[in-house]
């Protein structure tokens, strides 16, 4: 059985690990409690841009050194940024635990050199252009902005070509100093871990990081309901997004929300699948639950031939109206439990898979949950709890955004 261990450095940096002696590899990650919701409009996109800059070197290493040293360990490493976290990770063989932590910790104090900043800005602008060329052509970010309104979760992770283009390195340095305080960082590990050694290394390489208070303001979300059509002439398919409120990260009913999303909108065998995808009305139609601190969201995503788009939106609305009126069946709930349980087990087999769950749970909820805890929580969800979620978070109360070649759409 894996053993969960925790420690804390004097400066507030927390160290957590799920240690499994029979694992073949070691996954390590710094989880930073910062993302687009912590940005102002002037620095929109800075969290994600900073994530790129972290790999551009430190006072001791240039970018080539960073990449070369990770590759010398055979590390599988990368980083990602979302609305509320930035995560840097590496999966390595156990013999590289200490050098991998040392290197990850070093890059967490980046040099943020101006010439690197200017070169990397070009890469970010390319990334923004790449997404503008791909569905849903930025309409997902527009939909989020409409839905969340003035709430911080309305912010775009990438930012815009304008906001990133005008960003200055001193603004990034100021953001870094404020948000990358050790109190805001968790060092997480999963797999074959020497925990005592992990703590010793962390103390050596992170112990001198200066602690600064960096609280995040958490406001309730007051979403806007509405319909928006975005005309994109060159698109072949029509893409639809529906956002509605769901349980937040610490809400006990988040497991019921995930099961409900599986019953209604899993990629296969769900109600939306049988209603839209199997008959060929839509190329894709799914429903997911996303939980954030203080708010959660159900997101429906649909793509289809433009000719079928209006009809598909009606079909989705009917599926949601029906479930709000009549609920789901025990057989549907049992099937969804089997699917989720199997996914939890399969995704947990690799330390890399566990790292994101263990680290994510800790940074969002200060909570450790074993695979068994998650399986038990899924198993315990009842039809009554699903009904509660449907009542508290009506899927029919959504902001809808449609993008594609249509210039008008009946809804």
């Amino acid at each position: 059985m894996p053993e969960f261990r925790t420690a804390e450095l004097k400066n507030g940096l927390q160290i957590i690990a799920e240690c499994s002696d029979d694992a073949y590899s070691t996954a390590l990650g710094f989880f930073v409690n910062t993302g687009s919701r912590d940005e102002t409009d002037e620095v929109s996109g800075v969290s994600h841009f900073l994530e790129h800059m972290v790999f551009k070197g430190t006072p001791q290493r240039n970018a080539d050194d960073v990449n070369r040293e990770f590759d010398e360990m055979g590390a599988h490493y990368n980083a990602f940024t979302n609305e509320e976290n930035t995560v840097y990770y590496a999966a390595v063989l156990p013999e590289f635990q200490t050098p991998a932590v040392e290197l990850l910790a070093d890059i967490m104090r980046p040099a943020l050199r101006e010439d690197d900043f200017c070169t990397e800005k070009k890469v970010i602008l390319e990334e923004i252009k790449m997404y503008e060329d791909q569905p849903p052509y930025g309409a997902d970010e527009k939909c989020r902005a409409w839905f969340f309104g003035q709430h911080p979760l309305s912010k775009s992770v990438l930012g815009t070509a304008d906001s990133v283009g005008q960003l200055r390195v001193d603004q990034m340095r100021e953001y870094f100093a404020r948000r990358y305080s050790p109190k805001n960082v968790v060092l997480a590990a999963a797999g074959k871990i020497d925990f005592d050694e992990l703590c010793r290394t962390a103390d050596q390489v992170c112990g001198r990081w200066e602690a600064i208070d960096s609280a995040r303001e958490v406001l309730p979300a007051a979403p806007n309901i509405g319909f928006h059509l975005v005309h994109k002439e060159s698109s072949v398919q029509e893409y639809g997004m529906l956002m509605s409120l769901g349980p937040a990260a610490v809400d006990a009913d988040r497991y019921a929300a995930k099961l409900l999303a599986t019953v209604l909108g899993d990629d296969s065998g769900s109600r939306l699948y049988w209603e839209l995808v199997d008959p060929g009305h839509a190329e894709h139609c799914s429903l997911h639950h996303h939980d954030y601190i203080g708010a959660g969201m159900f997101l429906t995503y649909m793509s289809s031939d433009p000719e079928f788009a209006a009809d598909n939106l009606h079909r989705i609305a009917k599926v949601y109206k029906d479930v709000e009126s009549f609920g789901i069946t025990q057989a549907e709930l049992d099937q969804a439990k089997s699917k989720i349980n199997s996914r939890v087990v399969l995704s947990s087999e690799r330390p890399r898979g566990r790292l994101f769950t263990v680290g994510g749970n800790w940074i969002q909820r200060r909570e450790y949950r074993s695979v068994r805890n998650d399986l038990d929580a899924v198993e315990a969800v009842s039809l009554a709890e699903i009904a509660t979620v449907l009542k508290k978070y009506p899927l029919t109360q959504a902001t809808t955004c449609v993008v594609g070649p249509l210039s008008e759409l009946a809804h």
Binding site: K122, V123, D334, K339, V345, E349
Partner: protein, 391 residues
Amino acid sequence: MPSLESAAMTILVPAGAVHDSTDKCGLATLACEMMLRGCGPRSSREFITDLENLGVQRGESVGISHASFGAATLSKNLPAAIKIFADLLRRPHLPADQLDAGRLVVLQELSAIDDDPSHKVMLELKRHHYPDPWGRPSEGEKPAVESMTIDDVRAHYQHFFRPNGTIIGVAGRINWPALRDQIGELFADWKPIAAELPAAGATGKQLEHFPHESNQTQIGIAYPTVPYRHADYFRASGAVGVLSGGMSSRLFTEVREKRGLCYSVYASYHTQRERACVLCYAGSSSDRAQETLDVTLGELQRLANGIEAAELARLKARVKSSLIMQGESSAARSGAVARDWYHLGRPRTLEELGKLVDELTVESINEYLRANPPQNFTVVTLGPAALSVSA
């Protein structure tokens, strides 16, 4: 793999898109879609529901050589899942009344590719580089898919779904004697059917541009290399690993890190049984696309001058850790076992693979590169304006 709770299987049936006739491009894909619509005693809905009640994560795809069916679940549920897959492979209903729905699914997937420029450029790259029909997109073509009948679908199934050439790779926590006996019971009386592979015809143009209204120009470059079963495979793929594997690789360093030309750039090894190529991709703003193409091609040509010891050391570290981590996933292992069987007639163990990688030297790779420099490039671009390739 006793440390795992799961088991996974990968089924390869030699019923890929290479068998699609010119006027029926996409038939193999449509047939695969139609096979999922009921089999044995199960309706379309029962087939999916029964698998999902067993917690089976499944995926189907049609490539040039094979129709592939993948499934992973808790090991205790694997025998029941295999039974359902036996019905799928041997007793599909191929119902006429669901043909229109199946066809719409395939047509919408084709439209989705039209909205995904990076995917589209790589499909066209393979189509131009490989000799016809070995580079055809298995996704098909709209007019052909629109014209197919249920008889076409049934004929495809009857000609190409057969035990000879079919491979079932299984990995994870399994009971081998029980598995072997179960596969025997379910498949031993399946009758073989002779089927020949089509000959390799002409290749497409070496330089092709597709006009596309977009911010970025998509660049695809291919050049020939040796297939997986060739004795030089590890030397050839080692060189590709130096080009693109990890962030210290040459393409990432030269194209993205030093010049900021693009967000995504890579090279990957693509192998069929008889032929193979290296596929390279870069997507860059249209005003910098020419420079991106020039720098990328320059790096491919520079590879002929050889690699360095430090590059090989990093490559070996990366491959070694990948191999060990592959042992942590039943799905990854089952896919590798099935593919090895197709290409080599036997699976390679992780130890054997590790030894082959250990044996690589700078001299052996450089000797290969001197004799086989990257050349004969096929270049396909998609974007607002065509690019030029200097001699």
